[in-house]
Symmetry: C2
Subunit: 592 residues, 2 copies
């Protein structure tokens, strides 16, 4: 009872709204990817996801994964292996990677928006190419010191999809705090032997690809304690000679969602590994992939929020219950009115649609900046784009995952009891989405990254770049009567954000606990202003169309909801930031 | 990895805070149930729930229910049948029911607070006695016209737990709108034959009790259309002569949560039934049980919110990650600090604790009013109590279920990845709780009930009674320095609520769509003021204790969080109410 349709029209509109051709295609590296080509690529990709991967989603959730303790193998859901092979053969694993290693070379903004469709179709499946992409990002910037597993050996295999990758970070005693890692790496000839236990390793073991390359954080014998003593290694599942490297899956976790994505305990028992980059500098290999990975977590919220919205809307279009509160709007030919006549049903749908289209626009903008930050020819543009990526990625990850989850819950509410049953996919979306607030750095870690690292960086330059964008958009839109209420609302909240930032900056310098206490609320305030910017941008792109134009009308009714009923929440978050730390710090934890 | 402990101390404190002995035990009917006796009863009940029912909770979730299409039978989770027998033998099914029918005769406030422990221990299990209690409430006030299934026949069997009851309301085409019911009841001698299909019938079929009594809404042949043509019937599963009445389970739903509670499609195929009350007046039998049932749904949020909080807190007490942002607070003897040192972890825990203890207090207060509204000897007190029950029950149901769900999600966030796995019970709590926002009248239906029915009732008398309670508490607390900031905060939000109410009242009279558009936000604004009242009440009861007293310190640090960081959200809801209906009504639904 689901008929998810890839939101390609909105994706195209957003790429246009953020001047895709002028900004991305103008870069020599991307000259073959004009908007039409990008959309063709996305259309093909979306068809595959919707037609091949989506039908596997529900059954795979029910199947989960099967772990066999006798041989430590993991069996994935029926159809996954075959679908993955087709996915790879179609070149989809290779989308955003450089042509010199066999990639397609598409801009990251294109593959990121494609990811929305992939995740909406089958989130569990998406985790396998997703993690592999993280490894590829890492290996493109850090050298593996190995004659047999060098970058030139690994990258083509990973990009083609023949092999898959994992990220082995977490251990039982350390999740957020990677400085506590205990896994050991002992030098052994030209390579190392790794021993330790890693947990929550996504697709750590599977029956989909012929080999798995683990990126493992571990400590060398002479490592200093803490985060400055972590090195990175690649550890293959299958050795060069076809023998088994002793890295075994010790079990898979039972989880609320993403059932078909194996979450493995991985035991390294003197497993052979090769160092990536310099000793004790392993965290660099991590940070390289972090921005892209976090954008991707943000888009998970958009993806499943959109899919849930579509389910709720299609349910609502068919459902009749009760009468309009305005008798004149009642359909007296039927026994009851369509539930879309009820203002509260519209409120719920607009709450989802307005935040989701805002977030999609935010991702489109920042993913485009990601491409520019790596490849723009103009140094100033490159630096500006890089600042925006650094500043807004934690917001996308955190607000996107929180909002995505809330939106799915709201979609369920539209559907009543039906949404709670497995006859509709919404309950699975909810279970699948919840983890996004936790992994890739919990949402509070994102907030600390925003307030503690990104905002003070370069004397506050990142904030000035963002404020400059907002100011120039407001200036551009000023004087346009149709945009006036939205410009005014954005001005108000943008000014409030500025005030909050100034006050916070002054206190947080001398008292880091204040920063920790208010960071999560501050991030949400900031996120809403960011979405306000994105919405004004969207409206500015359609305002000159005829008033009867469907896209103009749609964007205006949705945007209006955002400005009148979502953006004002920023004031509430600001008030909480202003409270400071005392209600949290003047607390006796024994009394909790 | 769970060690849920019944929050009996807080329950006792709240009963005292709302003057249980003076108000409830002073009623002749409840003279045997002074606070000590009530707490003894609750302690025994809680022990049973925690020791017998809680261990079944996780395994039962994994087992679900098994439906056998050959004989239409439903097998419940291992242990349920035996546990239910013990539960009944202990007299727990009989707790709040009158002694004349074999009940224990305890006040509803006592059994309702007991329900918190039952639900926290095993929500799926709780649904069976829960639905039966609804039927009993109904049969205590409405006569069954039958020689063999009269009230005197049914009540002892239901109260003793030998038989169970169901509520058969919903049909495929009608959930919220019961006026659309199609099930037919044809007269047949002294009784009726019922034909039709009911869906979402909780414990509609089971292997726990020897008989099941269905309360069924249906239409007589001469019924007028809509809600005024609905009659109520009792339909037994097993006839008087031991033969099977043709009411069969056609299947059970697969759901996100409450897996072990069978949700059945029930097919009535000329099943014999007896009318309850008068023809076409079946909705009365429904409304009788509604207040108690809705209180119970509100307490589900408190129950699972509390259980999730306890899991998160116990996880947090053991977990060390990262360093305090205030170096002086760091534990340098350990590799990392306990996570309770981080202000954001405390923020999350206090967010749960403050709203949960507020909601528990609200339920204690209103459940006490429920007893008074039925049995108080003073007519004025009785009327006042009845007004408060009518006014605040929709708030308890709606805000309790929404907050409960959010609180469980927040508890999961404290635990990180661990909370997402089935190693901890939190992910099950989340799945089990989500339906509470939907059943017993969706949360928006509660909001419409509040704004459209309860507030205008008797010329606004219910609101005046509530406002009177708030004003008199504020007056009582004024001048006490330790309470001053809380009094001020409650005054502000109480005045704001009054303003919102006045403005809304003026508009909603002439434009019901406005009411529908803002009702959900208004309910949340109202709910926060209500919790503010409950918190001030709690603090006023401990303020005179020594400042070192643990309960005083605990209530003050939790209450402070509520007043500084939760209550102010009321302003945000008020602002949304002020926006009115246009962003929802000036919308072309074809563009959604």
């Amino acid at each position: 009872m689901s008929a998810y349709k890839a939101p390609l029209e909105d994706i195209r509109f957003l790429l246009e709204a953020f001047d895709y051709n002028e900004r991305v295609q103008s870069i020599p590296r991307f000259e073959d990817f004009d908007l039409d080509t990008a959309m063709d690529l996305l259309e093909g990709y979306a068809s595959f996801c919707v037609e091949v991967l989506q039908p596997l989603n529900g059954p795979a959730d029910a199947f989960g994964v099967k772990y066999n303790p006798d041989d430590h193998s993991v069996t994935t859901a029926p159809g996954f292996k075959e679908a993955y092979q087709q996915y790879a053969e179609n070149g989809f694993t290779a989308l955003p990677f450089p042509q010199e290693h066999g990639g397609i070379g598409a801009p990251v903004v294109v593959s990121t928006l494609g990811s929305e469709v992939l995740i909406a179709s089958n989130k569990s499946f998406s985790m396998c190419p997703g993690l592999t992409a993280g490894l590829i990002d890492s290996l493109e910037e850090h050298e593996v010191h190995s004659d047999i597993y060098g970058n030139a050996d690994l990258l083509p295999k990973l990009i083609s999809g023949e092999w898959a990758g994992t990220m082995c970070l977490t251990e039982p005693q350390c999740g957020t705090d990677l400085g506590l890692i205990k896994t050991k790496a002992e030098p052994f000839g030209d390579h190392f032997k790794l021993t330790g236990t890693k947990i929550w390793i996504t697709f750590g073991e599977q029956d989909i690809t012929e080999n798995i390359i683990h990126l493992v954080l571990a400590r060398l014998p002479d490592a200093p304690p803490g985060i400055r003593g972590i090195s990175a290694f690649v550890v293959p599942k299958i050795n060069d000679d076809g023998s088994r490297n002793p890295v075994f899956c010790g079990g898979t976790d039972h989880k609320m969602g993403i059932h078909a994505s194996p979450t493995c305990v991985m035991n390294f028992e003197d497993a052979e590994g090769w160092i990536v980059g310099e000793p004790h500098r392993g965290m660099r290999a991590m940070f390289t992939m972090m921005n892209a990975a976090r954008l991707n977590v943000g888009i998970e919220g958009v993806a499943l929020g959109e899919a849930a919205y579509q389910s709720a809307l299609s349910f609502a279009r068919d459902r009749r219950q009760s009468r309009s509160l305005a008798p004149a709007k009642s359909d007296r030919n039927a026994e009851a009115d369509n539930i879309l006549v009820h203002p509260d049903v519209r409120r719920m749908l607009l709450e989802i649609k307005s935040t989701n289209e805002g977030l999609r626009g935010l991702v489109a903008w920042i993913a485009m900046c990601y491409d520019l930050s790596h490849h723009a020819t103009d140094e100033e543009e490159k630096a500006k784009a890089s600042d925006l990526v650094a500043l807004l990625t934690p917001i996308i990850k955190s607000y996107g995952s929180e909002r995505g989850f809330d939106n799915i819950s709201t979609a369920m509410q539209v559907m009543g009891g039906a949404g709670f049953t497995s006859d509709w996919p919404v309950e699975q979306y909810m279970r699948d989405e919840r983890i996004a607030m936790i992994y890739e750095g919990t949402n509070h870690i994102q907030a600390l990254d925003l307030v503690g690292r990104k905002m003070p960086m370069h004397g506050g330059r990142l904030m000035r770049v963002f404020a400059g964008e907002v100011t120039s958009l407001i200036r551009e839109c000023s004087g346009n009567e149709a945009l006036a209420p939205f410009v005014a609302a954005l001005k108000t909240e943008s000014k409030r954000l500025n005030d909050t930032t100034m006050k916070l900056g002054a206190v947080a310098m001398s008292d880091h606990e204040v920063m920790g206490a208010v960071a999560s609320n501050f991030l949400n305030q900031f996120a809403l202003v960011t979405l306000g910017y994105v919405w004004l941008k969207q409206l500015s792109k359609v305002v000159d169309r005829d008033e009867s134009d469907a896209l103009r009308r749609s964007k205006f009714q949705t945007g209006r909801y955002f400005f009148e009923l979502v953006l004002p929440d920023a004031a509430g978050y600001a008030a909480k930031v202003a409270v400071g730390k005392e209600p949290m710090t003047d607390v006796d934890v024994d009394l909790l």
